[in-house]
């Protein structure tokens, strides 16, 4: 069926809007994470800070396909600040958790990237890689039991995490149950210091999809358009009963593993190779080149987002830290079955 010119331009407009929306999440994530990194270097964050520099396009594109209100579930991992924001996580959840405010979703009990709001579809990751995928499977199975068949799930993993047995068991489980699950594999060429050739021997991790009997896509993770289109397609396929969708994004980790790590083991040349670019720079150039925004607008946007971030940081910093004497120290929801601390 031939499309009319106005339909075409509608579609183009929608695509442009989607691109700009994604860009906003990417930029916000970058600004937020840079702030967190500065706070860390200033000694104001205890523990670690892990950022998603270079992965914002890939991450945001998945987050945007998931709809919290529709009951979608999302299991972000270490480098998914952009996806979290796109999914609807408040900036305050991040700053409160990193800064140890008792008002954050984890109340000081857990920190940094381990935050989540399971009742709002946001799984609070534990550290053990690959283990959140079967949890997402379980949430989708629960929804299937209740007939909430519109919901899908999105889970994230790195090139390194694909080596974990938990990853394998869960992806296979999703395939057997034909769950509406998107598995986003961010192949950023390193797992901490370990390069991909010490992690797996296949050419492209998407080669795993066929072995699970699921649909797979391999894309340039620095190309926001490719990310948006592929995740949109994957989400549509998942929602319409085609089972798990594996999207492998090729990119490069543009930071240390955490902010304590200078990543000196990453050869600078890698940045000039394919997939080595910075998705934020690339998309900024694209937006300016397409004249969807001019430099002034871009600066204004940055300033606006910076203000949001600064405000969230300031709020969290003003809030009280957890007080051990106010803590209930109950690991069980069933309070009366909690043991006292024996022996004292």
């Amino acid at each position: 069926m031939a499309e009319t010119a106005s339909q075409l331009s509608d579609a183009k407009l929608t695509a442009r809007q989607r691109y700009l929306d994604a860009f906003r999440w990417m930029l916000l994530a970058r600004i937020l994470e840079e702030k967190l990194a500065r706070l860390y270097r200033a000694g104001m964050i205890v523990g670690g800070v892990y950022i998603g520099r270079g992965q914002e396009a890939f991450s945001a594109a998945l987050g945007m396909q998931l709809n919290r209100q529709e009951g979608d579930v999302y299991a972000p991992l270490i480098r998914d600040q952009a996806g979290r924001l796109a999914f609807g996580e408040a900036i305050l959840d991040a700053t409160r958790t990193y800064l140890g405010s008792v008002k954050g979703p984890m109340r000081g009990r857990d920190g940094n990237i381990h935050r989540g709001r399971p009742k709002q579809g946001l799984i609070a990751m534990i550290s053990h890689l690959g283990t959140a995928i079967s949890v997402a499977n379980g949430m989708l199975v629960a929804k299937r039991f209740r007939g909430e068949t519109q919901s899908i799930g999105g889970v994230c993993i790195g090139d390194g995490g694909t080596s974990a047995g938990a990853f394998h068991e869960a992806v296979n489980q999703a395939a057997v149950e034909k769950l509406p699950l998107i598995i986003a594999v961010a192949d950023n060429q390193f797992a901490y210091s370990t390069p991909r050739d010490r992690q797996f021997a296949c050419k492209d991790l998407v080669d795993r999809a066929i072995g699970y009997g699921i649909e797979g896509y391999s894309i340039d993770g620095t190309d926001l358009n490719a990310c948006l289109e592929t995740f949109a397609k994957a989400a549509q396929r998942a929602r319409s009963g085609h089972g798990p969708q594996m999207v492998v994004g090729h990119l490069l980790r543009l930071s240390g593993h955490g902010e304590h790590d200078d990543a000196s083991y990453i050869a600078p040349e890698l940045k000039n190779q394919q997939y080595g670019g910075d998705c934020l720079e690339i998309s900024t150039a694209h937006i300016l080149g397409q004249e969807w925004m001019d430099e002034t607008e871009m600066e204004a946007l940055k300033a606006e987002l910076q203000e949001q971030v600064d405000e969230a940081v300031a709020t969290a910093q003003k809030e009280p830290a957890p007080d051990p004497f106010q803590e209930s120290w109950h690991a069980l929801a069933t309070k009366h079955l909690t043991e006292g601390t024996p022996g004292i």
């Binding site: 609070a124 995928i133 690991a331 929801a333 009366h336």
Partner: protein, 321 residues
Amino acid sequence: MSITYLEAIRAAQAKALAEDERVFIYGQDVAAFGGAFKATKTLSKEFPGRVIDAPISEDAIAGLAIGAAIEGMRPIVEMQFADFSSIAFNQIVNQAATQYWRTGVSCPLIIRLPSGGTDGSGPFHSQSMESLYSHYPGLIVMTPATVEDAYGMLLEAVAIEDPVIFCEHKFLYYHLKAEGLPDSILPVGKARIARAGRHATVVTCSAMVHESLRAAQELVNDGYEIEVVDLRTAKPIDTDTVLASVARTGRLLCVGEAFPWGGLTAEVVSRVVSEGFHLLDAPPKRLNAKDTPIPYHPNLWRVHRPTSQSIAAALRDLLSL
């Protein structure tokens, strides 16, 4: 009508499925086949779609249950043998057990562990893992010793908002029978005086309750009345009931089927001496399995774990102090 421990477990699951639509069962061979021990026999027919065969993926089995629990379901997982839960260990202790504390969202699921030794089962089909799971915060660990408790506690487990490790004993599956199913049982967390006595207290759980009762019976001939306390749950431990018993008898023997280092017997002894030191007329004793893997050959196995004979011997020793 007489009902076995195994049938009671099946009946409890049938009742839970019938009365609570949040309940479903997930595990290897649990659907049409009815499970390796038939604990879910015919349930997949009676409750279509709610009894689901899982791949050989214990980590993902536990993970799926956790996700479903977070979403408000009440999954019951059957591990084919307790011993295979070692593959799900991480999901259980780090994901399920921490969920409520970390996020405030409860994680009500049940992991059924066919536990303990039987003739010829060997190192990997005989383990008692209650001590492992009790060590980690955030889990409730049940160790039913009777048909009534197997039934009643499994139903209680479904009602509880927290992850429950349900250690059911394979040796009791067929051997233990009751006349019927109870309407109510003691509350979770309360121990039971399985036999009243006044010369010494044996604290134990699961299959070892029956070995201990036999030992107590044997000591009647020696003129001793032995009290046997069935803990019912390894976590929480009903220290009050244990202390009250020791107050009556002045002597304590803790008996466990698990490996000797640490674990339930050490925890009970430690609590009693901390809180009831003055109640003791003699040093408390422990009797556990030997500190080797569980032997395959019946000759070895029968000596590896405590039996009524070795319990009786330990009691005589304790009473002589």
